[in-house]
Symmetry: C2
Subunit: 408 residues, 2 copies
């Protein structure tokens, strides 16, 4: 009965994107127990909780769409035109419930074990803080941002554009830590990070643990962050310590990071082996499919969204290049027939940050389809369409991301 109800929830509560349903699909008594252990609030399809969950109570409720207790999206109209997303407006997406605040009361005591290096060691945040520091502006974006636009009904949270934000991360460069421990072992090809969330009993940990591998090329820019936007990193967003891989999709930025291993192979945890893989609609996930690592070039309009007055309108939006610096953003007010280059707004915070843009356009009365198209310095441009894929990942097609505005 409960399983049936869960299945009815369909697209809002699916697979790996939400351990509740994932557990329910396992269908064992252990998994059922896990549901309550995990403590998620189940929602009927289309239902939105009225209040923020405790661990995110400090968020700006009016800026967010609450998909579930562990998935909250920034409203398109609340993204603003700033180079940095205010913490209380930033989206939330937790694969497992956040660790309790009680575990973060003494953040400097949080421990992370580093292995696959010459001198493996357990380090506290307090020790990391003396090993080096850097501040990097980087876009945090869920792999499934834009999923709502897939017509096949990709399972998972139905994010539109707001499972993304640009924040400042402060922490120690991972390479400084690795260097201090004698360097990575020979043959290491991946950096494998493990989250510190409590796992429910009765389930194979590999099926539920948040453990992600990224290629060692990410070491040049990765950091172990203890601050976000110049404040101690909250447990809502992975504090006391989070692995931050600038330009990589959100899932690789492992929260409450407890273990970092330099490994020859990717982890066989489900979230890596079959989860977060680009595959044809209907296919099962497998390790040989492309993993959600570097983000692709993308942009979307943030204003106007619904209505406007004829004459001069300022069209705003944000654009990101993933790991590649942006070159330009073009905007069309006729659904892509003609384009004009927009102007970037505000300071450039580096290749991993997004860039707000603006275009002054004279709009005549009637409906206008406003779309934007970003191009990076390597010449990668957003495609018109989308690459359909089972889980609705990585959508950067400009057509679906546009808005229709009625000008009177």
């Amino acid at each position: 009965m409960q399983t049936e109800a869960a299945l009815q929830r369909g697209r809002n509560d699916p697979g790996l994107e939400n351990p509740t349903r994932r557990s329910l699909l396992i269908g064992s008594a252990g998994a059922m127990a896990a549901v309550s252990l995990l403590g998620f609030i189940p929602l009927a399809k289309g239902e939105e909780p009225k209040t923020l969950p405790d661990y995110a109570a400090w968020k700006e409720r009016n800026a967010l769409i609450l998909h579930s207790a562990n998935t909250m999206e920034t409203k398109r109209g609340a993204i603003g035109n700033g180079v940095i997303t205010a913490s209380d407006r930033l989206f939330v997406r937790n694969n497992l419930p956040a660790i309790p605040e009680s575990e973060t009361e003494n953040p400097d005591a949080w421990e992370v074990h580093i292995e696959g290096v010459q001198n493996p060691r357990t380090l506290t945040v307090g020790e990391l803080k003396k090993m080096g520091v850097t501040t990097t502006a980087s876009v945090l974006q869920c792999s499934g941002n834009g999923r709502a636009f897939f017509p096949h009904g990709a399972s998972g949270t139905q994010w539109s554009v707001g499972a993304a934000g640009c924040v400042m991360w402060t922490g120690v460069p991972l390479k400084d830590v690795v260097e201090a421990l004698g360097g990575a072992v020979a043959g290491a090809k991946y950096i494998t990070s493990t989250g510190g969330e409590s796992l429910p009993e009765g389930i194979d940990p590999k099926t539920i643990v948040v453990e992600r591998s990224v290629p060692t090329r990410a070491m040049e820019t990765a950091l172990l962050a203890w601050e976000m936007n110049d404040e101690p990193l909250s447990n809502t967003h992975g504090g006391p310590l989070r692995m931050v891989v600038p330009g990589y999709y959100g899932v690789n930025n492992v929260k409450y990071v407890k273990n970092i291993a330099f490994t020859e192979n990717e982890t066989d945890a489900k979230i890596q082996a079959s989860g977060y893989r680009i595959r044809d609609v209907g296919d099962k996930g497998a390790p040989d499919q492309p993993s959600m690592w570097e983000m692709n070039v993308k942009s979307w309009v943030t204003a106007p969204l619904e209505t406007g007055s004829s004459g001069r309108n300022m069209i705003y939006g944000v654009a990101l290049g993933g790991t590649v610096q942006l070159e330009k953003v073009e905007v069309s007010v006729d659904g892509g027939k003609t384009w004009k280059q927009a102007r970037f707004l505000g300071p450039d915070l580096g290749p991993y940050a997004w860039r707000p843009f603006v275009l002054a356009a004279d709009l005549s009365p009637g409906e206008h389809r406003i779309v934007s198209r970003a191009t990076d310095i390597e010449g990668n441009s957003q495609p018109e369409g989308r690459t359909d894929n089972e889980r609705g990942y990585g959508h950067n097609g400009w057509k679906d991301h546009g808005v229709t505005v009625a000008i009177s």
Copy 2:
């Protein structure tokens, strides 16, 4: 009696820096009435109000030193190491009480009159928003920041280092507005901005109005801002519309701006004619003395502040160049005998922004005097000492700004 009590308050509540005492010094019945009209809370020397005034109730109380209801300083330990100061930690310094929130409910309807241009016009914020937009990171700093370090007891709020912050301003470039109105009249040498605060009856408006002139060279970078840190500009900080002159001392960034005039001469308002002038101790203010316009190069340490453990310490601070890009910051842990170059932390937001810096230093047990010294790309460096001046303006001497830290 009341006047006597006011005089007793001495350094905490003086002259132009605080209209309460200024009015009291006038000594007329009209001025006495003005005190209550202005609505400031009088404070005894050294007394700090417990709670934030209504117009600033959204501020982070624990981050601030409340000098008075219209002067609140960011604690040195709350400055952080971010490129941007969070709005709720930013200092407050109002020459007159903030306009009531009721006047800002429809910010787009706020009007500003532009004169001294070919086609003078009154424009609403709504109209300005369609004329152009820019986002500039800029340090906001009170002319009297550092006043507490002057030994002669300069009158005015006893700011230490926290009457400064770096924020993002979004608004229309002033030059776009002027261009749209046909350009400035011939012979214009100053941009004169007038604040929209209500003035009490019975006082010559020229003695109390916030009206400041800056040289027209500031037009290249000035903007009329309606947002701060990607949010609508609050009345606490001068919203709906504020004149922002990047790199200039705070007073020139006129709040609630109602009138902007291109003029041949500086205004004869007291705040310009005799206020905010660098003059010898004991001298009266006069128009021929240097005005507090462009900020000078400056830096200060933000951590550690009091104690630390021996061994590796990370020394943090912030540095600004006024209108000139910074070249470097050096740090000394022995009171200025030896120096090491610090590293800038985080992205460079442009010449008007501050730059956080960090230096890893090995400290032995005992007392350490930690000081910092910034240099801009034109070779201007912070002096060791200070230029004593009547009102305690513009202090950028590195010696006074240091901290003494006990290392155990």
